[in-house]
Symmetry: C2
Subunit: 265 residues, 2 copies
C-alpha cells in the first residue's frame, strides 16, 4: 500500500475514521508502531492485565486506557479506539459474533482498551537487515497458527499460544533472532525454530488466521509469539465480551518504531 506508507499516523487514522480506508494496515505509516487491540469490561481487566504480565511474549502491553475512555492518551493522544481501526471483531461467550468497522454503537462506560505490540514493527527491521519477509513480498497477511502450548493462565483467562510464522533461509536464522530480540515490546525473539509439529501445527499450509505464504526449498519455518493470542483466549475461556482488531487491521500509534527497542517495559 505505497500510497499510505508515507502518511503520518494522525492522517491515516483520520482516513480510517471517515471510512476512506477499510483494508489491512500492513505497510501503512512506515516507521510508526502498530498495535493489537483488546477491549474488555472492567470486571475482566485485572485478569487480562495479569495474563499479559504472565505472558509477555504474545501480550506486550503498550498502553491501557481508563474505563470508558476510548482515547489512548500516551501512544496516540487525540485518537479514538472506537473508530480508528479499519475492522474489529466482537467475541461473545467465546464465539466470534460479528465484525464491525465502528464500535460507537456498542461502546460501554466500563470498557477498557489494551494496546499490545505487533510484529509489524520488527518486519521492517528484518527487511532492513536483509532477512526476507515472505508475506510482505507476496502482499499477504502473515500466517498465524494456534499451537498446543498453553499460555500461563490468569484468573478466568486461559488458552493456547498463537504464533506467526516466517520462512527463513538457514544462514539468516541467527540474524532474524538477533534483530527481533531487540524489540521485546513487539514480541521479541522467536519462540520456536523449525519442527512445526513439536508445537502442535499439523499443516503449515492451513494457517488458523491470516494467509498461506510460499515456503521455498530449504527454508525453515520460524515462529514468533503473536498478538492474536487473546482471540484464542476468548475462544477458549469464553468471557462475556471481548472486542479485538480483525487480524491485520491494526491500530496505528504515534510512537516511532525505535521507541519499542528502547522503551523500558
Amino acid at each position: 500500500m505505497p500510497q499510505a506508507s508515507g502518511l503520518h499516523p494522525k492522517e491515516m487514522r483520520e482516513k480510517i475514521r471517515t471510512g476512506k480506508w477499510q483494508g489491512p494496515t500492513a505497510g501503512c505509516c512506515g516507521g510508526y508502531v502498530q498495535a493489537n487491540l483488546v477491549v474488555l469490561p472492567k470486571a475482566l481487566a485485572y485478569d487480562f492485565l495479569l495474563f499479559c504480565q504472565r505472558n509477555p511474549r504474545p501480550c506486550p502491553v503498550l498502553e491501557v486506557t481508563d474505563p470508558g475512555d476510548p482515547e489512548p492518551r500516551t501512544t496516540a493522544p487525540g485518537a479514538d479506539l472506537r473508530t480508528d481501526l479499519p475492522r474489529y471483531r466482537v467475541y461473545k461467550g467465546g464465539k466470534l459474533e460479528r465484525e464491525l468497522t465502528d464500535l460507537r454503537e456498542i461502546w460501554r462506560d466500563d470498557l477498557v482498551g489494551f494496546l499490545l505490540g505487533c510484529s509489524f514493527t520488527f518486519d521492517v527491521a528484518l527487511q532492513r537487515a536483509g532477512v526476507p519477509v515472505r508475506h510482505l513480498e507476496e502482499g499477504k497477511n502473515v500466517s498465524m497458527y494456534i499451537t498446543n502450548r498453553p499460555c500461563r493462565p490468569a484468573g478466568a483467562l486461559s488458552g493456547p499460544l498463537v504464533v506467526s510464522m516466517r520462512p527463513i533461509p538457514p544462514p539468516l536464522i541467527s540474524r532474524a533472532v538477533e534483530v527481533t530480540a531487540q524489540f521485546p515490546l513487539a514480541h521479541g525473539a522467536p519462540v520456536h525454530v523449525g519442527e512445526p509439529e513439536a508445537i502442535g501445527i499439523a499443516d503449515l499450509s492451513r494457517p488458523h488466521f491470516g494467509d498461506r505464504v510460499s515456503i521455498h526449498a530449504g527454508e525453515v519455518p520460524v515462529f514468533w509469539a503473536c498478538g492474536v493470542t487473546p482471540q484464542a483466549v476468548a475462544m477458549h475461556a469464553r468471557p462475556e465480551l471481548m472486542i479485538t482488531h480483525a487480524p491485520g487491521h491494526m491500530f496505528i500509534t504515534d510512537l516511532p518504531d525505535e521507541e519499542l527497542a528502547h522503551r523500558l517495559l
Copy 2:
C-alpha cells in the same frame, strides 16, 4: 555479610523463616535476584498492576501471586511471602502503622503479592564493571529520596517517584548507564544524572529512606528509579492497606541475576 553470600536462596529463606536472620539482605545469596514486595487487597490489585505498567522503571513486575496464595510459584516455588522476608512494613490509610517479621497473623484470603525487581541486581554488575558502589563499600543501605516527579497515576493510586542514589566519578557515568540499562527488570538505566535540586532533592545528606553515604570530591550523584516508590504511593494515596518489605530487607528469589537481563517482560 560474607557468611550469607554463598547460601542458596532456599537455605537463606529457611534461615529467615525460622528467625535466624533478621537483618538486611544486601550481599546475601550472591547471583540471585532479590525483590521488592508489595501486598494489597484484591480490590486494589488492578490499580496497582496498572500503576506498574504505567511506571515500569520504579515498578518492574517479576511476579504477581493469586489472591490469598502466599507462594510465588514462578520466581521461588515453595517459598512463603508471609514469612520469608526479614522485615515488613504495614501501611494503613497512608500511615506506617508498624513493622513485623511475620505476616501470618494479619494475612487475608484477598491479599495479592507483587514482587518487583530491585537494584541489588545491578549493584553487583556495576562492581564487576569497575564502577564503585558506595553503600556496599561502606556496609550501608543505599540512599533513597522522594522526588518532586509525579508517577503516572492509575485509578486510586498516585504519588511521587522515589529514587536511589549512587555517587559516581564522571569518567564512569557512561559505563554506569550502560551496565544498568541491561537490566530493565531491575529499574534499568538512571532516571537522572547530577543536579539533585532539579528533581526536588534539597539535601543529599538527608535521605528519606536508607542511609547517608559519603560523596567524594568530584563525584556526581546519579539517580535510579526505586522500588520503594510504592511506599511513597501508600503515603500519598492512602489506600486502606498496603504491606511492603522494610527498605533493604528484600525477598530473595530463585532467579539467577542473568535472568533479569534476558527475560522478556
